[in-house]
Structure formats: structure tokens, C-alpha cells
């Protein structure tokens, strides 16, 4: 009698332990999946390509990833809150043009101009989303057009390219500490601030709550509109800043870049494990996603045999692969946790 009872009990326990283990592994992989793949890709790169190994190359990867990282940082907040921001690519270009133009008035102006204009642009989008209750997709799609129009208006229909004046702003773009460009440190600092804001503040918790369930968040006393507006302002500010640091690096406000930048940012965020449905996600994952896309790009460049056309095929396939894997892992977790 006792034996017959013990056996199923033990089996159940064992099965439970196993399912819990699976759950933990799956959760870890889903959270840190981008990081794991990044590690694998880097290791492969280290063995396969001599030039990839150099310190200079690591610096190149980091500095090219800097603007994308800033945009993706803002996008992570937006997506966790259950929204989306398609305007960041245009705001990025607008920020670059503004910074290059304003650099004649000094380094403070060069940073202030894009931050103020793009921040205000984000504010308007946030207000429309929060008060007119239009879908973020549509509002920021209109924002994409509007910001591009503004950029064209400022740059003489795209024909004028403002050069960055020799001065502190240009020095910021060129300067480096311990072999790493200033921009990378700036991104690192902002990332830490972003993490504190997202994980340790009331605002961060409101963002998660809003994305999880707007109705529940409202019942909990979260200020829905305030949170929504702040998220889009943040995204606009970071996109403008990304444009500014890119202008400082290139020495001019290039008007033709930035098309599709919003999609790259969304891809990085999604690869980083943030769900587009909102309510869940991490900044660490986003940064891993940004670096992953950048490292792959770098590796493809190392291999001279791959044309730019194949590059886009590979990145597209890669996005699909990572996202499909994540979806299956999420399903597995749901099954494992019953």
C-alpha cells in the first residue's frame, strides 16, 4: 500500500523538479538569449577573422552602435509601455542636422538644439496619443513624415549639408579616453540611468504596469497619460541625442541617413527579448540586441566576399530566426509552468 503511494508521489515530484528546471533554463535563455547568441557570434568571430580580434575593431563596433543603442534605449521604454515609435529614424536625422547647424553657436547649443526640438516633437506625439487616444503606430507614422518634412525645411530641401564647426562639439566627436570614443561612455552612462529609471523608480514601474494592462494600471492609480507622454518625450530626446553624437562623429549633418532606423531599433528591442505586446522586457537585452546586429554587420564586413545585398538578406533572416526561437521558448515556458 505504502509502496504504491510512494511511487507516483516520487514521479510527480521528479517531474515537477524537471519541469521547474526546464522553466528556469527557458526563462534564462529567453531573457539572455540575445546575450548568449552575441557571445557565440563573438567567439566565432574571434577565431575566424584576424582583424575582428583587434582592439580598434572593438572600438569601431561600439562607436557605430552608439546612436542605435540610444534610439533602442528609448524604444524599449515605448514598447514596454505597449506603444511603438516609428518617428525615431526621422528624429535622428533631424537631430543630426540641428546639431551640425547649431554647432556654430558652441557645444552647448549643438546638444541643446536637437534635444529641445526632438523632445518637443516627442511631447506632441505623446499628447496626441494620450489625449486624442489615437494608435501610437499611426501617430508616430505621421510623426515620421512630419519630422522628415521639418528636416528638409531646415536643410533647404535636403540640399544643404551643415558642417560641424571646429570646436568643442567636433572635439567631442573625435575625442577618446583609453582608446574608446567619448560617445560610448555617454551611452554607457545613459544606459545605467535608464536601467535605474526603469527598474527602480515609480516611473519605470508605471511603464511596466501600463504595458501589462492599461485598465489594471488605471485601477492601481497609475497616471496613464503622464506615463505615456513621458515615454514618447524620452524616445524623442534620445533619438535627437543619437543624431547629435552621430553628427559630431561624421562632422556634418547628413540628410540622407536614418531611413529605416526605426525598424532597426524595433528589431534590436525585439531580439533583446522585449515583447511587442508590452509589459515585459529589459534594457540589458536591448543592448545585447543592438550589439548583436552591429557585430554581425562587422563580421560580414570582415568577410570581403559578402556583398551588401547579402548583408541585408542575412540580417533579415537573422531577425526572423531569433524572433521565432524566442516565441517557441516563450511557448515552452508556458507549457512548463502549466
Amino acid at each position: 500500500m505504502s509502496q504504491t503511494l510512494v511511487t507516483p508521489d516520487a514521479t510527480v515530484e521528479k517531474a515537477e523538479a524537471a519541469s521547474m528546471r526546464t522553466e528556469r533554463i527557458v526563462e534564462l535563455v529567453q531573457r539572455q538569449g540575445a546575450l548568449a547568441v552575441l557571445g557565440i557570434v563573438i567567439v566565432v568571430g574571434l577565431f575566424a577573422y584576424d582583424n575582428f580580434r583587434s582592439f580598434d575593431n572593438a572600438g569601431t563596433v561600439l562607436v557605430s552602435a552608439a546612436p542605435a543603442a540610444l534610439i533602442a534605449l528609448g524604444m524599449t521604454f515605448v514598447i514596454i509601455s505597449g506603444g511603438i515609435d516609428l518617428s525615431v529614424g526621422s528624429l535622428y536625422v533631424l537631430g543630426g542636422v540641428l546639431a551640425a547647424w547649431a554647432s556654430q553657436y558652441g557645444v552647448v547649443a549643438a546638444f541643446a538644439a536637437p534635444l529641445v526640438v526632438c523632445g518637443l516633437f516627442g511631447l506632441v506625439q505623446g499628447l496626441v496619443i494620450a489625449y486624442a487616444r489615437l494608435a501610437p503606430f499611426i501617430v508616430t507614422l505621421a510623426g515620421l513624415l512630419g519630422a522628415r518634412g521639418l528636416m528638409l525645411a531646415l536643410s533647404g530641401e535636403g540640399r544643404t549639408t551643415y558642417l560641424v564647426d571646429a570646436g568643442a562639439f567636433k572635439d567631442f566627436g573625435k575625442g577618446e579616453l583609453l582608446g574608446v570614443k567619448y560617445a560610448v561612455y555617454l551611452v554607457a552612462v545613459l544606459l545605467v540611468i535608464g536601467m535605474v529609471a526603469l527598474y527602480r523608480t515609480r516611473f519605470g514601474q508605471s511603464v511596466y504596469a501600463l504595458g501589462g494592462s492599461e485598465d489594471a494600471a488605471r485601477l492601481m492609480g497609475v497616471r496613464i497619460r503622464g506615463t505615456q507622454i513621458r515615454v514618447y518625450v524620452l524616445s524623442g530626446l534620445l533619438a535627437g541625442l543619437a543624431g547629435a553624437i552621430n553628427a559630431a562623429r561624421l562632422g556634418s549633418g547628413v540628410t540622407v541617413l536614418g531611413t529605416g532606423m526605426e525598424l532597426d531599433a524595433i528589431a534590436a528591442v525585439v531580439i533583446g527579448g522585449t515583447l511587442l505586446t508590452g509589459g515585459a522586457g529589459t534594457l540589458g537585452g536591448t543592448i545585447a540586441g543592438v550589439l548583436l546586429l552591429q557585430v554581425i554587420q562587422n563580421l560580414i564586413n570582415q568577410d570581403g566576399g559578402v556583398t551588401s545585398a547579402w548583408q541585408t538578406v542575412i540580417s533579415g533572416a537573422f531577425i526572423a530566426l531569433v524572433v521565432v526561437a524566442q516565441t517557441y521558448l516563450a511557448k515552452l515556458r508556458r507549457v512548463a509552468s502549466g
Partner: protein, 326 residues
């Protein structure tokens, strides 16, 4: 809400009160806007009523209309298809490669290219359960890459007279391409209103879980919808090639997904699915086309034109928004 909803039968047809306007605006706002724009042009734009001008507008709007028809179907299922521009490029890139075997094989292959992308999109959405925006984002990136690989990244001129005739010749003074778009619009409208497939599509957009429980083959319908959208995009790509006489995979269909989504949304189709306005979509495409043309004809700069477009989109969507029932 405050006034009791009681009205005598005789009053119904008399006048326009605020409530009626609010009810009708989502459905017919786009036509009003279009009419206003046409009137403005008749008064202020020279030669606006010339058939030649009208013909140019028709020809230019054709690719957007065709792509937007597919987009409307996808949006009707509460999805979105960002890959349409890349599919246009893919269809365009396939044409010069196979035109040597004759026009029909080339056209078939271009359409097959669309079917392939649509199958991938649809499978990612239906079987894997990816969000449409992510699935089609991957195909947006990869699709144009494939088109560039196929065309070797080169701009290709086309000299096949029969093929070019699609883009240049006309029937009853209306270009073939416009006829094609019109026929496709009628077919899509018929499919949505009069077929089981259309009903199922809308049911999925309305409430996917309920549709599943009601026995709708959700996955099959979703895949079919994405295949149709991609095939329409490929057709638009082919038409574009036949009109300009060359295939440039890096430029064809660039950002058309945004124009198509705009046309659909401005036309009164909600992004939340469950309802499709085909005629509204066509009118939406015309509205945006005419808006650009008007601004160019009246010497507004490109920058101003884009900002005005942004405002128009917002206003149109704001007036067309459905009341939240939640």
C-alpha cells in the same frame, strides 16, 4: 448619451444633426475630404480638369492602390504587412531575369515570388504566432536583400515591347495599368462582401479566439491573406517596372508600406481589424495622391508637403476613429 434616442420617423431624413455627422464621418469623411480637395483644385490649379492631368494622377496612384488593397485585407485581420515594398522590388527584380523566356513566364515568376514571401509571412504569423509587425519586418529587410542579390544590385533597362506595352498602352484612353487596378479593387471588394473567405477574414480580425471556436480555419485564412497581399504587391512592382521601363531593386517600392497603410487608415478601415472599407481605401490613396499633386502644382516645397501630409493623416484618423467600446 444625455438626450433620449427617440425620434419621430418623419424627422429622420430631415437635416444633419451632430450625432448623424459623427456617425457618418468615419465612413464617408474621406469622400468629403476628396471632394473638397477636387473643388479647391478646380478653382485654384490650372489645367486641373484636363484629361491628361487626370490620367497622370491615375497612373501615379495605381501602385499604391494595388498595394493598399492587399494591406486593407491584412489590416482587416488585425495584422499589418511591412514587407510590401520589398515584395514590389522582388517582383520587379524577377522581370528582367526571365523576360528572355517570354512575357508570361516572367509575369508568372514575379507573382510566384510574391506567393513565396506571402507564404513565409503567413506561416510566421499563423503557425509560429509572431506578431505581424515583426514577421513582416524581417521580410522587409530580407526581401529587398534578395531582390538586390537577384538583380546584382544593378539598374536594368527593359526593351521587351510587349511587356512595356502594359505600362504605356491604353484602352478607351485609360491606361491598362489603371484598368488592372480597378479590376483588382472590384475583385477584392467582392471577396470581402460576398464570399465565405471574406466573412472568415473579418471574423478573425474581429475576434480571433471566437473565430477559432466558431470553426473558422484561422491559420489557413491568415496565410491566404498574407499571400494575397504579397501577390498584389508583386503585381504593383511589375506594373511599376512596365511603366518606367527599368527595374531598380534598390528604389522600387521604397516606403510604399507607409503610403499604403496611410491610404487604408485614412479610408476609414480601423487598425484593430474586423472591418474593411475597400472603396474608402481607394479613395484614401487618391486623397493622398491628389494632396501631393496639389501641393506640387501650387509650388509648395517637398518639406511643407510632408508636414501637411502628417497633419492630414492625424486629422483623418482622428475623425475616423471608432468609439471605444471598452
Amino acid at each position: 448619451m444625455t438626450a433620449p434616442a427617440v425620434s419621430k420617423p418623419g424627422e429622420k431624413s430631415r437635416g444633419l444633426d451632430a450625432a448623424t455627422v459623427r456617425r457618418l464621418l468615419p465612413a464617408y469623411g474621406v469622400y468629403v475630404a476628396l471632394a473638397v480637395l477636387v473643388l479647391f483644385n478646380i478653382v485654384y490649379t490650372d489645367n486641373f480638369l484636363a484629361w491628361n492631368n487626370f490620367r497622370i494622377q491615375l497612373v501615379q496612384v495605381t501602385p499604391v492602390v494595388i498595394v493598399a488593397l492587399g494591406m486593407a485585407l491584412v489590416i482587416g485581420t488585425e495584422g499589418i504587412d511591412l514587407s510590401v515594398g520589398s515584395v514590389m522590388a522582388l517582383g520587379a527584380a524577377l522581370i528582367p531575369l526571365y523576360l528572355g523566356y517570354g512575357m508570361v513566364p516572367a509575369l508568372l515568376l514575379a507573382v510566384l515570388g510574391g506567393v513565396f514571401v506571402g507564404l513565409v509571412n503567413g506561416s510566421l504569423v499563423a503557425f509560429v504566432g509572431l506578431q505581424p509587425i515583426v514577421a513582416t519586418l524581417a521580410m522587409l529587410v530580407a526581401g529587398r536583400g534578395v531582390a538586390l542579390v537577384l538583380s546584382d544590385g544593378k539598374y536594368k533597362d527593359i526593351r521587351d515591347k510587349d511587356f512595356l506595352a502594359i505600362g504605356t498602352d491604353a484602352f478607351l484612353d485609360v491606361p491598362y495599368t489603371v484598368w488592372i487596378a480597378a479590376v483588382l479593387a472590384v475583385i477584392v471588394g467582392f471577396v470581402i462582401r460576398r464570399t465565405v473567405f471574406g466573412r472568415r477574414l473579418l471574423a478573425i480580425g474581429d475576434n480571433r479566439a471566437a473565430a477559432q471556436l466558431a470553426g473558422v480555419p484561422v491559420k489557413r485564412v491568415l496565410i491566404t491573406v498574407y499571400v494575397i497581399a504579397a501577390v498584389l504587391a508583386a503585381i504593383a512592382g511589375v506594373i511599376q517596372v512596365s511603366r518606367i521601363g527599368s527595374a531598380d531593386a534598390s528604389r522600387i517600392g521604397l516606403l510604399i508600406e507607409l503610403s499604403a497603410i496611410t491610404a487604408v487608415v485614412v479610408g476609414g478601415t480601423p487598425l484593430t481589424g474586423g472591418k474593411i472599407r475597400v472603396l474608402g481605401t481607394v479613395a484614401g490613396a487618391f486623397l493622398m495622391q491628389l494632396l501631393t499633386a496639389t501641393m506640387i502644382a501650387n509650388n509648395l516645397k517637398d518639406s511643407t508637403a510632408q508636414m501637411v501630409q502628417a497633419v492630414i493623416i492625424l486629422v483623418a484618423v482622428y475623425t475616423a476613429r471608432e468609439r471605444r467600446t471598452r
